[in-house]
Amino acid sequence: MGRATLFLAREGYRRRRLADMARLLPLLGLALFLVPVLDAEDGLTAAMLIYLFAVWGGLIALSALVARLLCRSGAMDDAVRAPEDAP
């Protein structure tokens, strides 16, 4: 086993950037979910409610996209299955 290679082929590179995306997504979510705090005085408004659920839905859709791409790219191929399934 040599050291990990420094430069990856296109496929491996893509997979890493996908993992980066998966890591950055919650940070984006955190930022968006903290927006209501900036508007704390106005409090609950219908617009705020719609904003929150729109952001929420958007994050879910993005997360679904990333998860699907990650699975397809083979990043989950080393997944450990339940022990009883193992030979």
Partner: protein, 894 residues
Amino acid sequence: MIAFDLLVAICLLYVALLFGVAFLADRRAAAGRGGWLRSPLIYTLSLSVYCTAWTFYGAVGYAARSGLEFVTIYLGPTLIFIGWWWTLRKLVRIGRTQRITSIADLISSRYGKSNALGVIVTLIAVVGVTPYIALQLQSVTLSFAVFAPSGAGPWALTDLNSTALTVAGGLALFTILFGTRNLDANERHHGVVIAIAVEAVVKLIALLAVGVFVVWGLAGGVSAMIERIEASPLAGMPIQPGRWIGLTFLAAAAILTLPRMFQVLVVENENERHLATASWAFPAYLCLMSLFVVPIAVVGLAEMPAGANPDLFVLTLPLAHGHDGLAALAFLGGFSSATSMVIVASIALSTMVSNHIVMPLFLSLTRTSAPMSGDVRMLVLRARRFSIGGVLLLGYLYYRMSGGSEALAAIGLISFAGIAQVLPALVGGIMWRGATRLGALAGLTLGFGLWAYTLLLPSFGGGAVMGPALLAEGPWGISWLRPQGLFGLDGLDPLVHALVVSMAANVLGFVTVSLMTFPDPIERIQAAQFVNVFDHSSAGPGWRQGGAEAEDLLLMAQRIMGADEAQALFRRSAADQGKQGFLPDITPDFLQRLERALAGSVGAATAHAMVGQIVGRSAVSVEDLMRVADETAQMMEYSSQLEAKSEELARTARQLREANEKLTELSVQKDAFLSQISHELRTPMTSIRAFSEILMGADGMRPEDMGRYSRIIHEESLRLTRLLDDLLDLSVLENGQVSLNLQEVTLADLIDRAVAATGSLQGGLTIRRDAAAERVRLMTDGDRLSQVFINLISNAHKYCDAEGPELTIRVRAARGAVAVDFVDNGSGIPERSQAIIFEKFSRLTDPRKAGGAGLGLAICREIMGRLGGSIVYLPGQGGAAFRVSLPQVRAEAA
């Protein structure tokens, strides 16, 4: 109004359905035909135990009281799930590879299989979750009360407590039946998971149905709903930034640390890929669950009488509008939320209690007696059953004690904050190798203690545990120690205050103590395996070759895993080692494997202790650990050493080969020389003998003949003497016995002398010289040096095979050294011979032609060595070329 009896009947039917589903799922899983039981969808739905009755009823109440804040309870988990690549993936992988059975097991296993930590986390979990279970009992009881007829009857609920007791009993029964059916080696409960998935669907549909009814049935559409929201008392309800951030954090922490969440998320996980689906599907579930919360709260506040409990709007709104069916569905949804939470939580807690409290106690009690007898499995199962009963009993007692306090949300948050104290030890444990057992211990104790002091105890209200004076003025009147205003932090919301204080102390204690302490070997192994779980690091040596008998281990394993499973494991291990039968060799690998299998049933700490009890010595030493750590480095060093060695060998071989070639050539030369020298000696000896015999035997010989013969004898003996002189000269030089006669000489004089000495030989050899360059003064032995020059010039005479032979003598003085080159225009010396020309007896051409004994150059080399210089062959000069180098000691240009 729906008949109460009917409601009870529906409820019982529903429970029967759940029993049936769980039973079938268990059967199918046992038969190995449960493919669809292990789908990502089921996994995602089972995660919905996060949404308890607190969500189902409480969220609306929360929204009615505090506006938008309720949503933070779902935003935190959403962030954790869409960020699954950070923590959840690692957590699940660790759970899979280490066979983790609970959150307490994870912490205990990570920190060196420490049982003390297991006990502490178990206690935190029990103390933290008990109020939560009480909350579920309360909500179910309240929802029953909504339907209860005001008059008397067989089901008259004059006593809510008995309802709570009945519900608790029923839940205990279900949990014991399906949660402790067998001691699964992987701690997975297919029946329970399926039942929970069904309940997840029911509660989602119920809440959505009520929401749709409220928005389109009561409010009259989306835009009308928006108008009603804007007009409601909720509009403009300010957000408290501290609580918003604090609660989001709290909920995010809770999803990782709540025992029931850990159970469904990690322990019941079938496949890591399911997590990828759950990463978006679970947030979607949460989003849908909270979608209609504000509308229901707004409409409820507007339409229900002023004193109505907003926690029950989900039920009372449909009822008030005569939609009994919808109300029954909503009731079932709430019932599902409560029961699924209680079932999973009590399974998780009972696993912790039996693995970390009962089993260690049992082990220490039976340490002296033979550990081989009896079936531990029954003991473990019984311990779990009692624990389930005990947990539910505790929940019921708490419910009775707290007197059914009104706001559901407050109890839930207190519970969250308690269990969140595990977070630093958990996240630190899987991300930071430097986290130590003592650090975790310090953090947990500090955080939990402060949580109890600042949040749990005050929550019972003034007078229950803490007196009102203590709450208002602090212990002994020290105001900065007030439970809800530590260090004078009065301005904060009590929950945020408790959260900040306890988490800060927790993290600070955890990190500080971790930095200052040194982990023991098992801890370090575990730390490496947890933190680097994705590196496929091979398991460190958990055990050394022990004195244990395989049979003892098999007996012990059978008692925990059951005979069939234990035998299968032993047979597989034996087969892997290439052995027949059930008894593998007790290798460290096998012990590790066995321990991990046992850990799946009784937890890492207990499994470790049990194996240790039989193997006799507790695992690894620091040296073992160092050995493992050094192994890679050693391998690398060894291979580089090998490489260096083989290079050295190759070099030596090359040198040997060269030496061998030289020796072979020399030996051939020597053979030739011997025949030559014998010939050289024999020729004069033959003439001397022949002429001396003539002189002896012939009387009356003419005097002139006698004179001629004696002269021949004399010349031949001179030739012999010269030969012997050369040999003697060489041996004297080689032995260092020569004495040098150093004097100042001019190079030109020496060359003149040499040319003159060889003059008699000159047959057409032209000598080219550069008189100017030769004006070099030297301090050296002139006689010896001219001997070298004579030798070189006479060699050129003898061997230069050019048509018009020429010898060029070049002199160069540079950097304190003088080089004199003798270059002829012949064909030179072949490369293969260049190496041996300075050896003794070496001659390249036919000896007779050369007429010497092959000692000349050898003598030259010895002389030059004595004079502190050297003589080398100069290749590539167009002919034979020799360079004589001399140090120009105390000499200067003339």
